[in-house]
């Protein structure tokens, strides 16, 4: 049951990315190009997603257990550190080069574009480098 719910949640999320235009790298770059001809659509995507998720996530944050059982796994880190900021700046720089972030990369993967395959391989390698460095750190 939990598995079915997870699959449906992912499916709805993925359809949302496609409907929203988030899975079109040129549209994402047009949103990030505030000094050029600016397409503000993705600001509405973000606002709408947060509008819908606000109450359910606030509710989840206050629960001990999920509706289908199991513990609530909500993040509890609070520190604003160098890792958070430098990591996010690095992620944003990559996002700004190609207009692709991890969700849209997965949604586009089955459509067979070589650009996405290359991006996903490089992204997984980047995540692998992180995993190796973290293990060394102990």
């Amino acid at each position: 049951m939990r598995g079915v719910a997870a699959f449906i949640a992912g499916l709805v999320f993925g359809i949302g990315l496609l409907v929203a235009g988030m899975a079109n790298p040129a549209k994402v770059l047009a949103f990030l190009d505030i000094a050029g001809l600016w397409d503000p659509s993705l600001a509405l995507v973000m606002a709408s997603a947060i509008g819908v998720a606000l109450l359910p996530l606030q509710w989840s944050r206050r629960q001990q257990r999920a509706l289908l059982g199991g513990t609530m796994q909500m993040p509890n880190a609070r520190q604003l550190d160098k890792r958070l900021i430098l990591g996010s700046l690095t992620f944003g720089a990559g996002w700004g080069i190609a207009g692709i972030c991890p969700g849209p990369a997965l949604v586009l993967l089955p459509l067979g574009y070589w650009q996405i395959s290359l991006f996903v391989v490089a992204m997984l390698m980047g995540m692998g480098v992180f995993a190796v460095l973290e293990r060394r750190r102990g």
């Binding site: 790298p25 947060i50 509706l67 604003l80 992620f91 080069i97 972030c101 290359l118 980047g126």
Partner: protein, 145 residues
């Protein structure tokens, strides 16, 4: 100052798509008790072991099936790339390593984190938005590519 590209502005599909993204994230949080953060889910599947792997993998499987369902019901989605292979390689590597060090990406910090009203996610979102805007400005307006 700001020139809005009205011809490509798609408010209705943006609002509808955003609502579906929010719904998917809400379902995963309320039913499974998990954050729909794609980089975190992917990253946690890389090492062996760890609990809850199957439901994380099934959420990601839903993402991968979404475009196939889309193709059954509708025209192929508009997809256009403006980046050559060196840019794509660099972009992928920066997105992979940066999203793991920053503990989240557009979905985990941007959608879920801001919905949780997390100060950490607000700082992360401002940071990646700022560097995204800066990178596009650099590439398109300073380097003129």
């Amino acid at each position: 100052m700001i020139n809005i590209d009205w011809a490509h502005f798609t408010p209705y599909s943006a609002l509808l798509g955003g609502a579906l993204i929010g719904l998917g994230a809400s379902l995963f949080a309320v039913l499974n008790g998990r954050i729909a953060g794609i980089s975190g889910l992917l990253g946690s599947l890389l090492p062996r072991g760890g609990e809850g792997r199957s439901e994380k993998a099934l959420f990601l499987a839903g993402l991968l099936v979404a475009p196939l369902l889309w193709l059954l019901l509708s025209e192929p989605p508009a997809v256009q790339f403006d980046t050559g292979w060196p840019g794509l390689l660099l972009a992928g590597a920066l997105v992979g390593i940066g999203s793991r060090y920053g503990a989240g990406c557009t979905s985990g910090h941007g959608v879920c984190g801001l919905s949780r009203l997390s100060p950490r996610s607000a700082v992360a979102t401002l940071s990646f938005m700022a560097s995204g805007f800066a990178m596009v400005y650099l590439i398109r307006h300073l380097l003129g590519a």
